[in-house]
């Protein structure tokens, strides 16, 4: 290779490597802020600030959803299968909200450990399948657990 081109190639590669290292260090330093939400374990460990706008994400615990009879208010537990956090929300929930599904709740964590949410978003997983396949899978699972 021509020495001049070689030098330019090295300069170009140095630019790419240096900028990658810079960005890697910045994102590493800010990793806590890049996470969209706190997990229930982090909340339990006291990592989430109290009385400030935060997000908590995890699975809605099966059987934990309680709806008020006279208001829209809903109370449910969010878990990461280690710890769980109680969330209350007074508003319309997204269509995909259900027990056993993922959610991300934005709100304030009270001193009593309950999050009063101002917004609840549904977090769905990466699985896509036709309803018949989902039914067949469920049936197979049910049979498997009976035996």
């Amino acid at each position: 290779m021509h020495p001049k081109r070689k030098q330019r190639l090295i300069v170009a590669l140095v630019i790419v490597v240096l900028s990658s290292v810079t960005i890697a260090l910045i994102t590493y330093a800010l990793r806590g802020n890049i996470n969209l939400f706190y997990s229930p374990s982090e909340v339990a460990a006291g990592k989430a600030p109290i009385d400030r706008q935060i997000r908590v994400g995890g699975m809605v615990v099966e059987g934990s959803v309680r709806r008020a009879s006279d208001r829209l208010e809903t109370r449910f537990n969010v878990t990461d299968f280690v710890h769980s956090v109680t969330v209350t929300y007074d508003g319309i929930l997204p269509d995909l909200f259900a027990e056993g599904e993922g959610v991300v709740a934005t709100g304030k964590l009270g001193a009593n450990g309950v999050v009063t949410a101002s917004e609840v978003l549904a977090k769905h997983d990466e699985n896509y399948m036709p309803p018949e396949v989902a039914e067949a899978l469920e049936k197979a699972n049910a049979q498997g657990s009976m035996q």
Partner: protein, 244 residues
Amino acid sequence: MWRIIHQFGSPPWVYRFCDKVIPWLMPITIGALLVGSVWGLLFAPTDYKQGDSYRIIYIHVPAAVVALAGYYVMALAGLVSLVWRVKLADTAMRAAAPIGAAYTAIALITGAIWGKPTWGAWWVWDARITSMLILFFLYVGVIALFEAYENKTVAARACAILSLVGTVNIPIIYKSVDWWYSLHQPASIKFTGSSAIDASMLYPLLGMIITFYALFALLMMLNLKQSLTEEYAQSAWLNKRLAA
């Protein structure tokens, strides 16, 4: 092998190559877009959880995949222009930028439309979506930076450096859903192991991804031809070709 690579640096050869490929690539791409859309939007089964709203995946994912790949095309052209000073590489870099910006915009807009019914929000500042927005700004930045300079050789060099620096963002976008907690779900199509998307939905999706790649190539060639016609308007080879 070097001969083939050198041919790609020759404007008359590339112009002729585009002229040869476009007439059959265009009908194939348009046909595949129609077949893929109809297959995905009408014939693919509904999703067990999202119902019909998931069908936007057939536009959203192909646009996003090719937006990322297109950036590497632009950055590679930038590298060639920077190191080997091939003028055609500048033209290719500039040709890729608006196409990539359009793909990124489509991915962001369809993502917002999909997010509203499924997540409950048009926009969330999570790592995937924010890094995708940065990709859009990088593409637009390359276009704007080129226009900002009077001297086009300097402009091309600045654009090449910007596109090279921006390559940092591509692995970040790709891995963002695994590295951080995000609202966006992880990838459904996996290169190793079985995909998290049923085969009956996966095949039209793969078809659409290939079609979007073909569309990128087609738009790139049309763009290149247009730029070459402007750049070499005074050249004998072009006038001879246009007269024929």
